[in-house]
């Protein structure tokens, strides 16, 4: 009986060592992201998380799978609250109910992963290349913004490849949130849209006063 236990124990140890040395990684990102500390503008936006984006599973190479759809939706929902005062999150363009909003359709162009054996450095790296299609509610294109994000994590002795890639991917997602907050309103076409939208709101607010003066 003891021999069986010892054999099982030895097999378990060998399996866990082999698992730790495994060159493939399958990762599901489940972490939450902190609330953004940013003042949103008094503007409206509808963010369309298409099913292909919300359930996105990245396969940067034959040995790596990153299930990141739900995590990137959580991240962007959080990040956009720091940009727009009025937000609507929908699954398709047809579900949008708010008017005069910027319609934002995010998509993933590419995910790349680099390991210490590839980059000859002691770090695991993840690049996520996003594309944000920006449109008016009428369907006119405002811009198509390329938004790359990067995360890296140090290689640790005996740490698994999956854990390192998961950590690097989470850092890359946080970086995407940071880039969005930092650069979104710096895009010239977005800045123009903001100016036009603020002018339109100003005109709408002036009109009732004009009518009040005319009416008896």
């Amino acid at each position: 009986m003891l021999t069986i236990t010892m054999k099982s124990f030895a097999a378990l140890i060998v399996l866990s060592i082999l698992g730790g040395c495994s060159s493939s990684a399958s990762v599901q990102l489940t972490s939450d992201f902190p609330k953004v500390l940013a003042k949103p503008k008094a503007l409206s936006a509808a963010v369309v998380f298409e099913p292909s984006f919300a359930t996105y599973i990245a396969k940067p190479n034959t040995k790596t799978v990153i299930d990141m759809g739900a995590a990137q939706v959580r991240l962007l929902r959080n990040a956009f609250t720091g940009l727009f005062g009025r937000l609507e999150f929908v699954g398709s363009r047809e579900e949008i109910t708010i008017d005069n909003a910027m319609v934002i359709i995010p998509s993933v162009r590419e995910v790349q992963v680099s390991t210490p054996s590839e980059n000859y450095q002691n770090v695991f790296e993840v690049w996520i290349k996003y594309n944000l299609d920006l449109e008016s509610t009428a369907g006119e294109s405002i811009d198509s913004w390329f938004m790359p994000a990067y995360g890296k994590t140090p290689d640790a002795f005996m740490a698994s490849k999956s854990a390192a890639i998961e950590q690097a991917a989470i850092i890359a997602l946080r970086d995407a949130g940071a880039k969005l907050i930092l650069d979104f309103y710096r895009i010239p076409s977005v800045n123009n849209w903001v100016t036009e939208e603020q002018e339109r709101v100003r005109q709408v607010n002036i009109k009732p006063k004009d009518n009040a003066e005319v009416s008896p």
């Binding site: 450095q121 002691n122 890296k152 640790a156 949130g177």
Partner: protein, 223 residues
Amino acid sequence: MRPTKRLISVLFSAVLAGCSATTTIDEYRPTSEAIELNADEQVVILGRRDAGHYETDREFISCVASKMRGADIGVLPEQEFIDAIYPWFEPRTAPKGLSRLKRLMQDTSIKAEVDKRAVRYLVWLDGSTETLDSNGSMSCAVGPGGGGCFGFAQWDKLSVYEAIVWDLQDLTEKGRLRVDSEGTSYLIGAVAPIPFLSPVKDDACASLGNQLKSFFSITPATQ
């Protein structure tokens, strides 16, 4: 028999002596006076992570933080601070100089979060531990009758870390420290592999933590 024993003990002592690390600390402070920290104020230690080829590892930051906590200095965990003011201290957005810090602290919501946590000083840690050189070889084999490792390997490690202290109230730099720690580790394969590891990183952490502790002087909490 005696000379053999003596020889073994001499060899053993030589190997152990070789495992020790040599640590040097450089310090710069604009004034020799201690940095005043109220008992109700905290320090946060953050790692620089914007360099391309290395990362200031979280383990080292936790180690330095634990050394400072040992001196009754309130240390806010790194991740708690970074999360509280997300996304302004991410690798992409973290201030690299005082001018950027001043601009950040002009934002009332960021300042409010810093004040809420009573963070008075920010310590930036930047550096890494690298293997410089390695020699020798070790081969291990396992067979039906058993297994073992034979050979000899050695490697040199170098830890270089820099700490910069920023005052979040005055928005000034209060001082900087640099620690260099170097040592050689050995692995002897005599059936079982016997490691003699040089505590390069631990020495760097202890030296940096103790020196940083001496920067601060705790004053009783203000009412």
